[in-house]
Structure formats: C-alpha cells, structure tokens
C-alpha cells in the first residue's frame, strides 16, 4: 500500500547509524569485559549484516578476530500457520560450540520480543553459553514478552500501526532507519 512521504521520518541517517554502531561496539566490549569468549550472533536478515559491522569495528579497535554467526529463527516461531505458503528460511551457521561463550544476539529492531524468544530457544540447541545478551539497533517498544535489550542504538515510541524500516548498505544500498507512521500513529 503506497504511503505519502509525510508519513515517513528518518530516525537515523547514515552518519547517525554509523555513530550508533560504533557506540554499540564499545558497549559490547564493556558488557563482555573484553573479547575473550565473545561471539556475535546476527538474526536473519539484517541482524546478520549489523553483527558483521559491529564485529569489524571491534576487530579494528582490539586487533583480535571476533567469531560471529547467523541465526534464522523461522523454524522456531510459535506461529507456523502464519508463516505463509512460501516461507523463506535463511541460513543458520554458528562458529562452533557455544558452551562457555558469551553470545551477543544482534538484531535490527526489537518489538514484540517473539523473535528473541525464538532465538533463545534455537541457541539453546547449539550448546550452553555462559551468558546471552541482546543488542538491537532500534527498540520500538510494544513488548509482548518479558524481554529487554542490554544494548540499544536508538529507542523510539511507536504504535502497532507503525513500521520501522532498517536499511543497510549490503542489502538495501544505503544505511538509514525510517519510522513510518500508520493510521492513528
């Protein structure tokens, strides 16, 4: 459904997004007390790109390789019958056993919390990390589960009719976060 341009506001432009990611990288290092045992796990699709970005920023500062993985949570969703007749399941790959690691889940937007719930279940099937943290670029409120992010790039209040669009260079050709207000927003 086409929307008029006035519905759309820019939450983060490319420079603001770059600063947010830089800050998130530093906060991850503080949270994990350095890079030992640190593993970044991006959630398909854009979380994977963001995790890659953050990992590279940490590697540049710390000079050590940061293991990272990708997680597709489609098969762990609690709503099989609503995934549609043509679901697209992305790649899941994790860098070895997670036992004893500090896994930081990276996603673009935190909303209901159901994706994170699924990601926690899925990670548990790959081993027993000593700790799991959550890092999101945008927290838009509206939680349906008792789940909170440890690290947030940008918080914004939104209604159920609104949409947050995260664009990343690797997939969308540019970095930007937009808030699209729906009816009553």
């Amino acid at each position: 459904m086409p929307r008029s341009p006035s519905d759309r506001t820019i939450l983060l432009d490319a420079r603001a997004m770059s600063r947010a990611l830089q800050r998130m990288a530093v906060e991850i290092l503080e949270l994990a007390h350095g890079t030992d045992d640190l593993v970044l796990v991006g959630i398909q699709r854009r979380g994977v790109e963001l995790a890659e970005r953050i990992a590279k920023l940490i590697e540049k500062d710390e000079g050590v390789p940061i293991p990272r993985g990708a997680l597709d949570i489609t098969l762990y969703r609690d709503d099989l019958e609503t995934v549609g007749p043509k679901p697209v399941i992305g790649e899941t790959r994790l860098p070895g056993d997670l036992a004893g690691k500090h896994a930081v889940i990276v996603d673009d937007v935190l909303y209901t919390g159901r994706t994170v719930r699924a990601a926690l279940d899925e990670l548990a099937d790959f081993g027993r990390p000593k700790r799991i943290s959550l890092c999101v670029l945008v927290d838009r409120g509206g939680r349906e589960l008792p789940i909170q992010a440890d690290i947030v790039g940008k918080s914004v209040k939104t209604g159920p009719g609104d949409r947050v669009d995260v664009l990343v260079e690797e997939i969308d050709g540019r970095d930007q976060v937009d808030l699209v207000r729906g009816e009553g927003g």
């Binding site: 098969l75 019958e81 549609g84 679901p87 081993g127």
Partner: protein
Amino acid sequence: MTAGLGKDLTGLEHLSPDQIRLVLDTAEPFKEVSERPIKKVPALRGKTIVNLFFEASTRTRISFEFAEKRLSADTVNVAATGSSVSKGETLVDTAKNLEAMRIDMVVIRHPSSGAAEFLGKRIRSNVINAGDGKHEHPTQALLDLLTIRDKHGKIEGLNVCLVGDVLHSRVARSNIWGLIKLGAHVGVCGPHTLMPRGIEELGVTVFPRLEEAIEWADVLNVLRLQLERMEAGFIPSLREYYRVFGLTPERLDRAPRPITIMHPGPMNRGVEIDSRVADGPHSVILDQVTNGVAVRMAVLYLLAGGRPELADAAQRGGGPE
C-alpha cells in the same frame, strides 16, 4: 497470492515449475538442521503424522520418519501386515479411524496407482504420496532434482537419462515430470519390453542402446530392476540384462564427459549397476539419501504451514517483527 504446495502432495504432474522450485529452495536450509549437534527444530511441534505403508519400504519410510522427528512432529507407523488392514478394512475406513484420533498428516505408500489422491480427497489431513503403484513417487523425484542441482548448479539444459525398467517405475514417471518442468532434456533407455508405448509424446528421447545414452547424457539415473520382472518374462535373465544394460566402468569410459550417476535404491549390484560405478567418483547415490531427509522436511513444513489467509493477517501486523 502465489500458491504454496496446497493441501496434498500426490505427484509432480500437476505441480508448477515454481512449486517444484519452492520445495527445492526450502530444502536447502533443512540440510543444515541434520548437521546440528541437536538435529531437531520445533517447527512441527504438536503435529501428529501417520506413516501408512501398504507396501514394504525401508529407505523411504525411515527417511520420512527422520524428517518428521527432526521437525518435532509425533509420528506413528502403520504397516499393512499386522494391522486391521489385513482384516479387510478399506483404505478410507483406516484413514477415517486414524483421523478420528485427531491426526494432521498421512504419508501413504500403496500398491494401487492413484491411492494417495483418492485418500486426499476424502480426509481433511494433509496427504503425502510415498509411492502409489506405477503412478508417482514425488519425494523421490524431488530429492533427485535437488541432488542434480547440487552437483551441476542447475537443472535447465542438462541431459538426464533414466535407465532401466521405465514401464513399471513410479520413480521414472515423477522424474520425467519434474525434469521436463525444470527445463532438462530427458532421455529414457532400457529394454523394449520395459518401455511404455508412446513415451516420446511426453517430450522424452528414447535410447534403445545404453551406449547411445552414455554418449548423450550429463546424468544417468539408473532404476532398480525389480526381480519379479524376470519371472514375468520381460527380460530373459539377470545376466543378459547386465550384459546389455548394466552400467559398467568399461561402458562409462567411452563417455565424452564425466557422467553423474544416480540410483534411487535399493541397488542390485551386478545387475543394473556395477559396484565400481556405484561406489565410483561420479556417484551421488548417498547424496541422494542425505537429500531425501531435507526434501521431505521441506514438503512436510510447506504442507503444515502455508495458510495464505493467516499469512496475510500476519503481514498486516501482529506477527513477530
């Protein structure tokens, strides 16, 4: 709204190329699930699946059962012998009784052509054809297609030849439909007595001699020779069959390019295929078995989910972010 797979999978004849590609693409991520330390995802948790086998099967039944269990479905195996089927209960009665116990899906193998479709029209549960008479064996053809795509990076434009008892083979029938729909050139090769009349009309090239098929093919899919065929007089003897249609390294050595070798199993080594070929560097026979689980997971997943009206509702909001 583009269609998913629909309610049942009874054959490839009535699937569109897009539907076939949907299964193959969906199978890709399921390959990885079988490589995990815990080979299981909760996608079909709470679904009950009955494997209803009216014919002997080891590989297909086990493959389906692994696929179901790796998706966390609850499964029950019913074999024709030792059940009420052997007391004369009809197929529909058996299925309706199972359905009265609130099952969600039936995987059926049956000696009569059309049994799966017949059942699918009469029960609410999803029905998957695991082989019906001489009609179709769709999941076998889908795993063959996936294996060819893995090996060659494409299916379109390849020359794929089915060798052997094409007349009685549901594997051959499903493969022909699937390969043609995805743009492969299809050949068949085998004794005249085991070749269906008028098969050329499907757009298939008939090679009376194996040497000609080897000259032409990128892929040879060698069909199992049912030993009963000899008793019924279709071929003179197993030794004679091996001499004329057995796939040997000596024959393959004359091929202008390396040929991918497939077999749906179980193999009669030394009859339709020589051990040195079956275990040779171009054989993908065990890859077919591995892919079978992934393809069946994809089919189960697509049939169990995929209710377009709910998906539309989820798109409008209320689904996970």
